[in-house]
Symmetry: D2
Subunit: 136 residues, 4 copies
């Protein structure tokens, strides 16, 4: 199963060539992750604000395949490629409305107690909510 | 008449105090302006990409009244306080879901031919589309 | 007396027209304020990290006069136009290396205890360090 | 040979946990790349503005090892791990002033004619300027 969320490339995402400046893609992916975690009932802002749990990133890999322009509608697909004790591997694929893949990102984030910086086990509820998105 | 668009404060908008860092409000307002111009049939990305017309800012005034936190749902109201030959005054009010005003911004932008930097008259169509939002 | 700090317009500051996107100016001004406060011996990061005192913004006014391009060297002048009990009015002027003014900003910030959100009096040391920059 | 440039973590780089939000590292690396290319006599803004040549990114890999806080002085080391016909592999290491590695990034960028999107061979001058930084 994949989660998909639609975004529009904003003016503020674009560089002097009129295309997304690469770090801006990670803001788009950050919003997509928020959409995903909210969709599965584990909203990022609830974890951060109420539980003081965060998801710092430990590893990020991206292949940039085609540029995106201001005003493009893009779809972000999210799948889970790793579901460890505390770590979560998310794969993001951004597709344009021409069907072409714009980029593929694999990131590993770790559920962390933000008060002491220690990893926290992914609980059963969250694990069950993530499991359907595991790439088999 | 007011145009209203709903946004959520993103993690990336927030500073070490967990509240929106003030320049980030202008990214939220930039998206709200895009929503407004699209709603009235004069999408910013169409103007920029196809007509090479932009809306550079010449004047900006903001009163920051209350902070916004990550995860807050906020409503952005847009009204027109000036409709000149080429210039457009937009007033933005951001309200929290507690009903409190977070900020009020007045900005003046100028319709501009981005190839030569000269102001361009606001055409009848666009003027008619903006008129209902004029503050009387 | 004026404080002046030199910056270069970065690629990441610029929009599809190759000029600074207006919210990005406030990041440049934020760095210039840091340079100023460090220069007068009251570094912003020391206030934030060690004293839990911040300077949230309550009022911002900007006139944008001329665009800046990627690679431009710009000088940011800072003067004090208000020195209240807790509030500090800073005027910023950005000049290009062609001598032309790019923008003028007046901002009012308030020294605040970030743990309870209350204004804190500007102490004698800080007041004495700011006084030479007061516009008379 | 390594190129090293010193940066300070800005307030605007930091998230609600008071540490650098990961996409902001790429803005710091973007400035560091600008410093490097200027140092070797091939300034990015000269390439972009005058030659219409850019360096779009095709591949990015980062390991995040330790967080950085607002006010941290950090050193960015740059080395060349690949010098292809048109492609350039840059390895960045960010170290804190405690000597600890904060992150390691490997990116592949491609010299590109930004008017037609085609790769352009890296000329002899630029190749000679980059060669001393090749990891052997």
């Amino acid at each position: 199963m994949k989660f998909t969320t639609r975004k529009m490339v904003q003016f503020s995402n674009c560089d002097p060539f009129g295309i997304v400046f690469y770090p801006q893609y990670f803001y788009i992916l950050s919003e997509a992750k928020e959409d995903f975690l909210t969709h599965i009932g584990h909203a990022h802002h609830h974890y951060i604000n109420d539980l003081h749990l965060g998801w710092p990133m430990v590893r990020l890999e991206t292949d940039f395949k085609r540029p995106s322009k201001y005003g493009d509608q893009i779809d972000v697909d999210i799948e889970v490629f790793k579901l460890g004790a505390s770590s979560l591997g998310l794969e993001y694929t951004i597709r344009g409305n021409d069907g072409e893949t714009r980029l593929v990102t694999r990131s590993v984030i770790v559920l962390t107690d933000m008060q002491n910086g220690r990893p926290v086990p992914i609980g059963d509820d969250l694990r069950a909510a993530l499991a359907p998105y595991l790439i088999v």
